[in-house]
Symmetry: C2
Subunit: 277 residues, 2 copies
């Protein structure tokens, strides 16, 4: 999928909602624990209930990896199920990988070949050659950490470069644009810093931004849209716990649909306001 195709998908779905499948076996409804693969059963019901409302799903790889080989099977089944259910979904592996070239190449093969993801989140610390192997896969995306939504973002991401006066996350936004174009690169920008989005939009006017932190992490969708939306939408806004754990009971899928519907309707409103649909 390229930039235009992602924009078309968002227009078709009237949604730029990304649902984070951070499925924790300790948090899912009790009755699922009797099934053969509780994590997959949970995801399956969430997907059935929300696939028409979401532009993207984002499984958080840590939650699958922590279950060992069985967890990777749950992930595989989840990816296959989504692909079988609908063609109109952008699929992000939230893995935050990044290593020297030959190792990043292995990670790229994992997520783009072994699993059929459209995108992988990657960490910038090791620079260009840690990201390049991901970019070699045409129509696949790297989602680069720029400004994250956690307290630790303040430790290094705001350091000001003596030479340029730019903060580290601004350097990441600028430098990474020289590595490839907007068809394969988007940036993670934490929504708890919605005002920072205006600044980020100046540095990266065209690129898609993946915005976590709306909901449980406290960001406001309205603020994100105000400062972050561009003429191709340019946003994927993620909600994980706020949707998938909207209820801890047997009605979890139904409640997840309600929460996703609320966000989707709000998003459709913004897209209309901006005359994008």
């Amino acid at each position: 999928m390229n930039y235009q195709e992602l924009f078309s998908l968002i227009r078709k779905k009237q949604s730029f909602l990304c649902i984070g499948l951070d499925t924790d076996i300790r948090k899912i409804p009790q009755h699922l624990l009797e099934t053969e693969d509780p994590v997959f059963e949970f995801n399956k019901a969430i997907i059935d209930a929300t696939h028409d409302l979401a532009a993207a799903y984002k499984p958080n790889i840590a939650f699958y990896e922590s279950a060992g080989p069985k967890g990777w099977e749950s992930l595989q089944k989840t990816v296959d199920y989504i692909r079988q259910k609908t063609k109109d979904i952008f699929l992000i592996a939230d893995a935050k990988r990044g290593d020297i070239g030959n190792t990043s190449a292995m990670y790229a093969r994992t997520f783009f070949e072994a699993y059929d993801f459209d995108a992988v989140t990657v960490a910038p610390y090791m620079g260009k050659d840690s990201i390049s192997p991901f970019l070699e896969f045409k129509n696949k995306w790297s989602v680069l950490l720029a400004l994250t939504s956690n307290p630790g973002a303040a430790d290094f991401q705001y350091l000001e470069n003596k030479l340029t006066g730019k903060k580290l996350f601004e350097e990441v936004l600028t430098t990474a644009q020289s590595w490839t174009d907007k068809n394969q690169l988007m940036f993670v920008v934490g929504a708890t810093k919605a005002e920072a989005l205006a600044n980020i939009r100046q540095i990266a006017p065209d690129h898609f931004l993946l915005v976590p932190g709306v909901g449980a992490q406290g960001g406001s969708l309205q603020e994100v849209v105000k400062y972050g939306m561009n003429e191709h939408c340019g946003l994927l806004v993620n909600s994980s716990r706020g949707i998938i754990y909207a209820s801890g009971d047997k009605d979890y899928a139904e409640k997840a649909r309600q929460k996703a519907m609320e966000l989707k309707n709000e998003m459709a409103g913004y897209l209309k306001q901006k005359s994008l649909i």
Copy 2:
């Protein structure tokens, strides 16, 4: 294992060699491909041939992950085999993880509970709360990326902080020391920049440094020791491809032992010179 125990292990083995188990199914000898688990069979023979010479093993998780669930089984068997073979080994998961708190906690559980690793490599970009969950496991280590050995290290790691005049990797070395002590924290420092080690030793005089890049990546062991060794050794020096792929034929384990023996003997010499053994 704590700082003193790691130093004792190094003295006992007369070695600070870390062997990187970057086992690539496309690079291992042909005859192994007929076995049920070629990656594990390869590792088993390498471990049999080198466990008395190495202070540490470092499986590179990407190489296992890329094989899907089966790869994680190979990793589990490899870890179990090492633990069963010897108690005198420090075991590092080269995973370069790092995410918001609840996600890092999942990764920590994966490597410290589901698999019995002593240490995990972690990326600093997301700051303190992305590392803290790893530090909650007593006697387990975080190995934080500071200065890496790849070309992309130049993209961000050398940016100078306007406020302090320190480079980003120096800020990482300084800031991270406020998070915990030398018993649970070591740093990755690329050996292709051996002279930079003198500077790094000033910033982190006591901490262990994990030094990749000796061998295939071009670093010199002598230089690393000259600038990096402290009075508790303070070094784990990694070699991966130079040892495990010393031969691509049936004699691969024997040739791996020869290469490991050369490095171990050189290391024992340096430890004697410094009166550490």
